[in-house]
Symmetry: D3
Subunit: 129 residues, 6 copies
């Protein structure tokens, strides 16, 4: 495992990101991903800036929809860390057990039908090109 | 490419599925995926039954959210056929260009951060297990 | 596209592989994959040696089973070239349309249930560890 | 981890699926996947119905071949749960260590050659289109 | 296909990115990816900013190594567009045919051995945790 | 987990591979992957022969570049075992923390832009075909 950089040992550059995470999320907890990325501060800064903007900034999609899209990708790629943390985030933003069940069912369906389309080598219909 | 089974040449079993697709979708068009799956009627029947239920049946998620989840998976897996047809379906159900842009940005972000979590070998925080 | 190395322009090292492909497969046709790999002769030699041994050599699995396993992977990964050529190979070795339909149904099922297991974060049962 | 629904706490709908699993498989054990899916009963019902039919129902492919195809996909996708349980299932249905070794070798080969075909951008031969 | 936004029809915001691409790359050509992303200007801006910095900015890795890493991912994911454009970029920065052959051989090897490690369910050695 | 074949219990064929691994790598340690593959000696032999040649033999790419390419694939595929062992190998051959950070940033970027190209269905520019 990558050593985690705790706040106490962190540089001023890293602390600024940790502070922004805690302020933005109204929490005193910084989760492990950020403490691992802190081993390479530019990646920490860039990644947090995009997560902050895309998952929490202004936009057309509501916060639960964003988390469910994020989960759909993470489940397809089998990223254990991302599934664990974003399941929690989606639930805290309002995803019910029923909604999670439907999400998983659609993720399963798409992963299946993607392969049927591949295996049967189906040409895209003229009207959908 | 797999030969497509047109309505005229289809068995009664296959025609019944084609009829249900057209009735359910209020269209006279059956797209190529179904005509390819018709080469194995049990797969045609099972797949349509699930698509009908999961993408269009009762549930907690609205139709656009379902299509966006489906797209998130298909883009991650790079299924050309599924991206083409479900982009069209999502738009016809109300996805705007702005919503599509945000969807793609989140799909891109998740595909990136999934790899950062993998590569940095981040252990799941106690509280998210 | 990678330029294809035709027999006439090929070096003696490349020709020896082409000759072995044609002799082994009892054909006068060398398909495009080999003509592309011929741009890097060591990769051509190594790859053909393994394909020859694993897909056609002695072993416990019959030739159709080997091709169906190969197809299950190629459909999961969406390799257009590999699906096209190995569908043909599987059929020439005895895969019926019915067998192909069942193969695709199981490939679809596994791609679906893999994601259900991921998303529901199911711990491996004690007895299967 | 998702909480597992044990038989004692399960609804009648869920118990009916558990009973069918145990009867079909001639065992008194229900493995964790089903107990996790029981959090969303429609997904439990649908998934078991398909697994029962595709992995154990009538068809052209023998039970070991079906399990090996399922394993080829699960290994390609790296689904730890599915690899663990279906390795056991395949062995119980007759897969020898030698057969498993050949299966893995072909899965490895296809995962390799899929990328060679991608990277060298090989066009599908006229005759295989 | 997504409609491409040409310079003439582009907004000032989009033109500024196109201008920076052409200046940075010392060319008068803007390739299709950017013209497609221009349908969602914030994604165009963010993506170009990161490509500019990560592929061309200061750092420890030389330009050819960066392109080969990028290609290794794109070939693994089978992104046709990315393979085509970054093969060209890598060659223009100094990748020889021999280097490309070795790159593809290692990409193939890793894709194979990744699956052997998955399928054989190999536990990480104490010393590498 | 697959039972590991220790040197003491190994056949002469397997011991010969273990001996070559230790000699080549100037170590008295054989890591778990090889002890697992030893359950199928032909796979052990073939895999080691290729790893030895491609990762350590003569060629145009330096040893660190080879390891970084291998890591880019393993992180994309999320192979825990391969990431752990090849991170160590890359570091022992000279990869700094800074180089690892840049590697991960590019792997993340490519995994993101691959999906943007997929989702926006970008046609390959004439000049890159």
């Amino acid at each position: 495992m990558t050593p985690l950089i705790e706040y106490e040992q962190a540089s001023a550059q890293v602390r600024a990101v940790y502070d922004d995470i805690m302020t933005t999320r109204k929490t005193d907890y910084v989760n492990n991903l950020w403490k691992a990325l802190a081993n390479h501060p530019p990646t920490l800064e860039r990644t947090w800036a995009r997560v902050k903007e895309l998952m929490g900034g202004a936009g057309s999609l509501d916060p639960v929809a964003r988390e469910m899209i994020y989960l759909a990708v993470s489940v397809t790629n089998n990223c254990t860390y991302c599934i664990a943390t974003h399941s929690a985030a989606a639930r805290s933003k309002g995803m019910s057990e029923e909604m999670f069940g439907e999400l998983m069912a659609i993720v399963g369906l798409a992963n299946e039908t993607n392969r049927l389309a591949n295996g049967y080598r189906v040409e895209v219909d003229e009207r959908y090109r």
